[in-house]
Symmetry: C2
């Protein structure tokens, strides 16, 4: 088999870690000697051993001697929740390391590769690099741009309306609904405005099996939720909820432990981005409403735009927000009789 | 089996006649006695025997005696290219006739049923009527509204543009292209404006195997085609071509036999509709360009609007025409990474 083929095995293994590696990247590792795969490992769970250790720990010193390690991301060189993988590799007897992509995280960023080379290990970089980058799209974006990847999602009728004013309107079909509920698990936070939180009263949960459900963020500058303390995201306890507000009265009411108040002063969108960045939360799924989405667009903070479209015509509903289509590249897919349109910003 | 189930067999048989029954409706017939299907027939080809005759001719007098005939359209009662089916049925010994829908054609319209009943045959009407009406949608529309069904088709980019000015632009994918070329066979005429005929130089043919390819109509009021006599629709001879024009010079040039000049005076769209109606051509597929489509919309002559959409962004092309979405009911389907959006006018 070729280097590419072994790296494909490593990428497949890496994908198994989703969504439980949470803030950590998905990483896979394969140990090969004499054209035989000796071990396959991956990062299973946030806080647990890295992929390299998962693979290497399956093998004896003798097996590892003179072997090749395929790993989808540069091995770490720092002590975090785990000791550095670079030291483990150096000590293992592995002769050659093939890496798909360098780690953009400043704490690694080439230092892992340097350590290996300094110890006489042959290192090759860039095998299936694009596929590896795609696998950790949000992670790579975050450590390159120093802010979370933002996706704006809307569900619209064919006449581009979001629903009727002041009432929850189910526009798209069950397949689109299921897709959204699954899709949320790929994000570390989900954001809505206070109007959406009150009128739609969504739970903002994902159907994926995850130990790290996305944090539910509500923008509530004026403190309207104080009149609606029984809504799901303030009572169900099924995921953390963060409220960004200028209203001090939130500090005076009794709220469950899973609800956290973030006091803002001025632009709440920038406050959210700053807080997520500080917390190393790498992705944000914005679900509405219209005003919130438009603020993100105006701030140039919409890396991805997602539109679910149904064939219905509402006629006199709320017009949907519109991105500048020239800024994006689109991909279409169908969900039964609904469409999914994903736009990725040109970079 | 139930009446519905026998009628389903008749409908399935009827569909086999497409597209070669041309101006005639698709019709299927099933003869049943003692819960046994004795014969299945359908109208195979314009000018050939009707479905009832196709089924009855397979059976003996004895077999037909006391049997039930299921037929998807009211039997005819006039002598056209074929003698009347009602006489044949009366003479056959058939006891009971189950009919899906009455024939809207004024030459039949209940007279076939009356003849059968007058001769003591038990007649039931309306079994799977909706399915039968759908099968001959254009035929039914034509004889009800006394004009052809008009479908406006466009292919657009995701930013709703038809292409770049003055050049042929391929926007949609191969699957959409194939779908259009197949779809044309369901129409009896295809229409384009002179700009489309000159710039795109389309052949306007169908890939379906048909003895009656749609007539290709070009609207050319001023006679611009006189400077472009080498375009495909004026030279290939693969289907009839009709030019609607005010320009007398067409009568002075030598044109092949398959090209027919229709002299107009004023509104060429109304002239086309009038001519097609006189010729009993029941359906028209309008393929562009923008001005032509808008004229049909303004005249209220757009019973169906079809949009093929690709995920591409053109940016500075020709804006597409837009129907009033409130007037239509939509159905979505996907063609690989392109979408097909069909709108049917509310009636």
């Amino acid at each position: 088999m070729t280097d590419q083929q072994y790296m494909e095995l490593a990428l497949e293994a890496a994908a198994k870690g989703a969504p439980n590696t949470w803030k950590n990247p998905l990483v896979g590792a394969v140990v090969v000697k004499n054209d035989q795969v000796l071990a396959i490992g991956y990062h299973h769970h946030y806080g647990q051993p890295h992929a390299e250790r998962d693979a290497i720990s399956q093998l004896s010193k003798k097996q590892l001697f003179n072997s090749t390690l395929y790993v989808t991301l540069e091995p770490c060189n720092h002590t975090g929740k785990q000791p550095p993988c670079s030291d483990l590799i150096v000590a293992s007897g592995i002769k050659r390391v093939v890496i798909a992509q360098e780690d953009p995280h400043q704490i690694v960023a080439g230092k892992g590769i340097k350590k290996l080379r300094d110890h006489g290990i042959q290192v090759e970089l860039g095998v299936l690099e694009q596929a590896a980058r795609r696998l950790n799209q949000h992670y790579n974006f975050f450590y390159t741009h120093k802010r979370p990847w933002v996706c704006l999602k809307k569900a619209v009728s064919y006449d581009q309306q979001l629903g009727y004013l002041g009432q929850r309107t189910q526009i798209t079909n069950q397949a689109a609904y299921d897709c959204v509920h699954q899709e949320r698990s790929r994000y570390q936070a989900i954001l809505v405005g206070s109007t959406t939180a009150i009128i739609d009263n969504p739970s903002l949960l994902t159907t994926a099996n995850t130990d790290f459900p996305p944090i539910r963020i509500v923008l509530d500058r004026r403190g309207r939720l104080l009149q609606h303390l029984k809504i799901k995201v303030l009572t169900d306890g099924l995921a953390p909820t963060w409220i960004f507000t200028e209203n001090d009265n939130f500090l005076k009411v009794s709220l469950p432990d899973f609800v956290k108040i973030h006091k803002t002063n001025g632009d709440s969108i920038q406050a959210v981005i700053k807080t997520l960045t500080e917390q190393e939360l790498q992705s944000l799924y914005v679900e509405g409403g219209r005003r919130v989405a438009q603020s993100f667009l105006q701030a140039g903070l919409a890396d991805e735009v997602l539109t679910y479209v149904s064939p219905e015509i509402l006629g006199d509903g709320i017009p949907a927000w519109q991105e500048n289509k020239n800024d994006y590249q689109y991909h279409f897919s169908a969900l039964a009789d609904n469409f999914r349109i994903a736009g990725y910003k040109h970079v």
